[in-house]
């Protein structure tokens, strides 16, 4: 089996938001919608305070609560663990957005562009009218993954088969791969580090790992 997951090394992330920009650029998401965003968090008590940057988005849970509540069947989970949305089925009820403990889903009722009513040249290419009025979220750049696999490439290893946020990360904080493959990049990384997953008490089994420390 294959189970694609994302690993964010919080020791490396510098909060530059390049992943966010790359995602927005590729997917043409409207203002305020960040499928991949970086939370800028403050930890500790003054004067012993640290800034921590946490890349986040859809956690592609093994037990996604968004899937169970979806009345239309628009939200589905693929065999490789990627949770995706069929825009043609979604009715935009937002039940999924309310069920997601990670706040990873968005719903925009009107066409919105970065600068006024008209799309920019980039947005003319990337904007998807079908995404208006329905739930949207990170899909691990499933189009890139599928095309890469079709061309014999390995997601997480070959950039042409890897999510754009990972390719764009300037500090190498983001890693993508198949956790069911014992030899994969993500397994090697996770086996040699201390890591955690967000809100595991929700029993969602998220597919997004965060590295805090070495062995």
């Amino acid at each position: 089996m294959t189970r694609y997951v994302m690993v964010a090394d919080l020791r490396r992330c510098i909060g530059c938001q390049t992943c966010t920009a790359a995602c927005k650029m590729a997917n043409g998401t409207p203002p305020g919608v960040q499928w991949r965003r970086v939370v800028d968090m403050e930890m500790g008590v003054y004067p012993d305070v640290k800034r921590v940057f946490i890349p986040t988005g859809c956690q592609h849970c093994s037990k996604p609560p968004c899937l169970d509540v979806c009345p239309s069947g628009a939200t589905f989970k693929r065999d490789d663990g990627i949770v995706n949305i069929d825009y043609d089925l979604c009715i935009g009820c937002a039940s999924c957005a309310l069920a997601c403990p990670y706040g990873a889903r968005y719903l925009v009722d009107d066409e919105q562009f970065a600068y006024g009513d008209k799309p920019t040249e980039d947005e003319k290419v990337t904007h998807n009218p079908e995404s208006v009025g329905v739930a949207t979220k990170c899909n691990f750049c499933v189009d890139v993954i599928d095309e890469g696999i079709a061309n014999g490439l390995t997601p997480g290893v070959d950039p042409e088969a890897t999510p754009r946020c990972v390719n764009s990360c300037i500090s190498g904080a983001m890693t993508f791969g198949d956790i069911d493959d014992p030899e994969s990049n993500v397994n090697q990384l996770l086996n040699s580090t201390k890591h955690f997953r967000m809100k595991t008490e929700e029993r969602t089994c998220p597919g997004f790992y965060y590295i805090l420390d070495g062995d």
Binding site: G44, P71, C90, I91, C93, A94, L98, C100, D213
Partner: protein
């Protein structure tokens, strides 16, 4: 502060969604009490008709809320797990049985001779309870929101629906000129039960580590909810027992207050208390060891 580092109020569902819970709860509660009243020879169809209209209005409001209203039929596609699908599937027979029951009870006024409304009225009441249960589960299954996923939200909303329905029933019966003692006693019992459920809900929410903004919003709403939805109805009903000559208008006022209290609760629960918790991490990352 940036979302994620702090909790965030959900903005997906607004007052229109709250109206669905209001219409569903009040309407289904009313259908139940109308059916119970039918067993004691009270008029059925005025209250039942209003109950069906409440449910229909609630569904219409949620239809206005969704992003793709002309695809609304798609909501029937996942009965295996979705309480919203189940709610929709129950709504269809609910309206069918309710319409039949209303027609059967209104046959004299319509100049017809139709069978007794007893069986369709009971079926309607049961379907109404099922519909209400689906609505409660819809809210409970919103796992991203501690204010909604709390286990006590189910008895609280269930009891509130029954109380709101009984509140409107008191109003309708007072208008028709008869409010039996058992209906008033039921109202007292339900109002007290809802207050108990409210305190249990608040207590469970505080123990669960809900966002401070959630508990603060509910604390702000608590005084209004308890005063409008509980203290006033109990006062009016008690005065009605003391002054039987004023019992009907006092019962009507008690009903209005009990109903408005429930609506106030739902508006607050949906639009003011539903915060998505912030992210937390177990420790700060140790920089400089990335290998």
């Amino acid at each position: 502060m940036q979302w994620g580092a702090s909790s965030r109020l959900q903005s997906f569902w607004d007052a229109r969604a709250a109206c669905n819970f209001i219409g569903g709860g009040t309407g289904c509660g009313l259908l139940l009490w109308a059916a119970i009243g039918l067993n004691t020879s009270l008029p059925y169809f005025p209250a039942a008709l209003i109950g069906l209209l409440f449910v229909a209005a609630g569904l219409f409001m949620v239809w206005l809320e969704i992003g793709k209203p002309w695809r609304a039929f798609n909501l029937f596609f996942r009965p295996q797990t979705s309480w919203m699908t189940r709610e929709g599937m129950v709504a269809l027979p609910l309206f069918a049985a309710g319409t039949i029951a209303v027609l059967f009870d209104a046959d004299v006024q319509l100049g017809l001779e139709l069978p007794s409304p007893f069986i369709p009225a009971m079926i309607t009441a049961l379907l109404g309870l099922t519909f209400l249960y689906c609505q409660v589960q819809i809210m409970h299954s919103a796992r991203g929101l501690p204010a909604w996923r709390a286990s006590w939200v189910m008895p609280l909303l269930g009891l509130s629906g029954l109380t709101e329905g009984l509140g409107v029933y008191l109003l309708v019966m007072a208008f028709l000129g008869t409010v039996p003692t058992y209906v008033q006693m039921a109202a007292i019992a339900l109002v007290i039960a809802r207050a108990v459920a409210w305190y249990a809900y608040l207590s469970a929410l505080a123990r669960s580590g809900a966002p401070e903004s959630t508990t603060a919003a509910l604390s702000r709403a608590s005084a209004g909810f308890l005063t409008i939805g509980h203290a006033l109805p109990l006062l009016f009903l008690a005065l009605g027992f003391i002054a039987p000559g004023m019992a009907l208008p006092l019962a009507a006022m008690a009903g209005i207050a009990a109903t408005l209290g429930g609506w106030f609760l739902k508006i607050n629960l949906v639009t003011k208390a539903a915060y998505i918790p912030k992210f937390t991490i177990p420790a700060a990352p140790v920089r400089g060891q990335t290998g």
